[in-house]
């Protein structure tokens, strides 16, 4: 009986010690990710739209850190390119038209709901899960979540999705942003 107890105790102690060692190592030898990638990722708009030909903002941030061009993000537009150029110390370039144009005003997707056939194709296309609905049921866009990346327009078989500009209402109106908010535009003046 006591030998069994000793065996159990020994294994438990060993397991405890090993667990402590590994736990200590996990904290002590923690590896931080590449900090520049995180900084770039913070500047990107996080629409995860994939228009830059990368599967999301984080992969594009990694690619930029590896030397990719900074002008492939239509949702971010010129302000993102300038911020990136500032961070990386390179010249800002105009937006690469190959990856889509920046819309002048913020847009939001709108589904004409009586035309929707419930095919769920736009749901699969949406990078941020801003479309609600189920098969054979009408879908709708959660306007607050929509980033206006227009990826859902293309897959719709009945073309019932419109990109509409967000109307200025009392709730979302704000003063124009100051011109020389960032260092690079100050130097330009």
């Amino acid at each position: 009986m006591s030998s069994i107890l000793i065996a159990i105790l020994l294994l438990a102690t060993l397991a405890l010690i090993f667990g402590a060692i590994l736990g200590f190592a996990a904290v002590r030898f923690k590896v931080e990710g590449n900090p520049i990638v995180d900084q770039i990722d913070n500047l990107l708009p996080q629409t995860q739209c994939g228009q830059c030909s990368y599967p999301g903002c984080k992969p594009y941030a990694e690619a930029i850190a590896g030397g990719e061009k900074i002008n492939k993000c239509p949702p971010g537009g010129e302000s993102t390119i300038i911020a990136l150029a500032d961070l990386l110390g390179v010249e800002p370039e105009p937006l690469d038209a190959e990856h889509g144009a920046e819309s002048a005003v913020p847009m939001v997707a709108l589904i004409r709901e009586d035309e929707c056939i419930g095919c769920t194709k736009c749901i699969q296309a949406c990078p941020i899960d801003a479309i609600m609905g189920a098969a054979k049921q009408m879908h709708t866009v959660i306007a607050d979540e929509c980033t206006g990346c227009d990826l859902c327009v293309e897959p719709c078989p009945v073309d019932c999705i419109d990109m509409v500009p967000i109307e200025t209402t009392v709730q979302n109106w704000h003063w124009d942003k100051p011109d020389n908010l960032i260092a690079t535009s100050k130097e330009a003046h």
Binding site: L14, A26, R28, F29
Partner: protein, 193 residues
């Protein structure tokens, strides 16, 4: 001194872990498609096998034998090996990114390999001393690496060779491994240990 040399020759050639004792066959077949990965795997295995034989020897001699718990060797060896490898992997990742890139993905893979546990158990079966255990583990690993690199080089040649259709892929690899195993049987009797 001669004893130690004999242990090395015995484990590398005569009692080769892969081709004579048939331990560690999964990485032998799985990772030998490219010479580069085979070398990475060999390096990781060398490291793990040597370390594992040292640690398991210590645990067995100073914990299990005094407490009369020899029957717990398998489970405690598995635990020891997993912890040592896990710890080393984290340490390497922090201290040497270059080494981590070479060994990194293979280290956790080799942890549960039967050759690793095999070395630890054979050490006990053969009543090896501490130094002998280290050499036994190291020799086994060198033997593994030798066979691995040879086999990977052969498979790279076979990949471009004109192999009959029914034999393409794994089949010809198995045949090659069998022939290599036969060839290594030629070392039998070179040393008796």
């Amino acid at each position: 001194m001669t004893d130690y040399l004999l242990i090395l020759v015995s484990t590398i050639l005569v009692n080769n872990f892969v081709l004579v004792q048939f331990l560690g066959l999964c990485p032998f077949m799985g990772v030998s498609n490219k010479l580069e990965t085979a070398i990475g795997m060999s390096a990781a295995t060398t490291f793990v096998l040597t370390l594992a034989s040292v640690c398991s020897y210590l645990v067995y001699t100073y914990l299990l034998v005094p407490l009369d718990l020899e029957y717990l060797r398998t489970i405690s060896f598995i635990m020891v090996i997993a912890v040592v490898v896990g710890f080393t992997e984290m340490a390497i990742r922090k201290t040497s990114p270059l080494l981590y890139r070479v060994l990194g993905i293979f280290l956790p893979l080799i942890t549960t390999n039967c050759a690793v546990l095999g070395v630890a158990l054979l050490n006990i079966k053969r009543d090896n001393s501490f130094v002998e255990s280290i050499l036994y583990g190291f020799g086994a690993a060198v033997g593994f690496s030798l066979v691995m690199v040879l086999f990977a080089a052969m498979r790279e040649r076979i990949a471009v060779a004109d192999v009959p259709k029914p034999f393409q892929g794994s089949a010809i690899a198995m045949i090659t491994a069998g022939l290599m195993s036969l060839a290594f049987l030629g070392f039998t009797g070179l040393v008796s240990i």
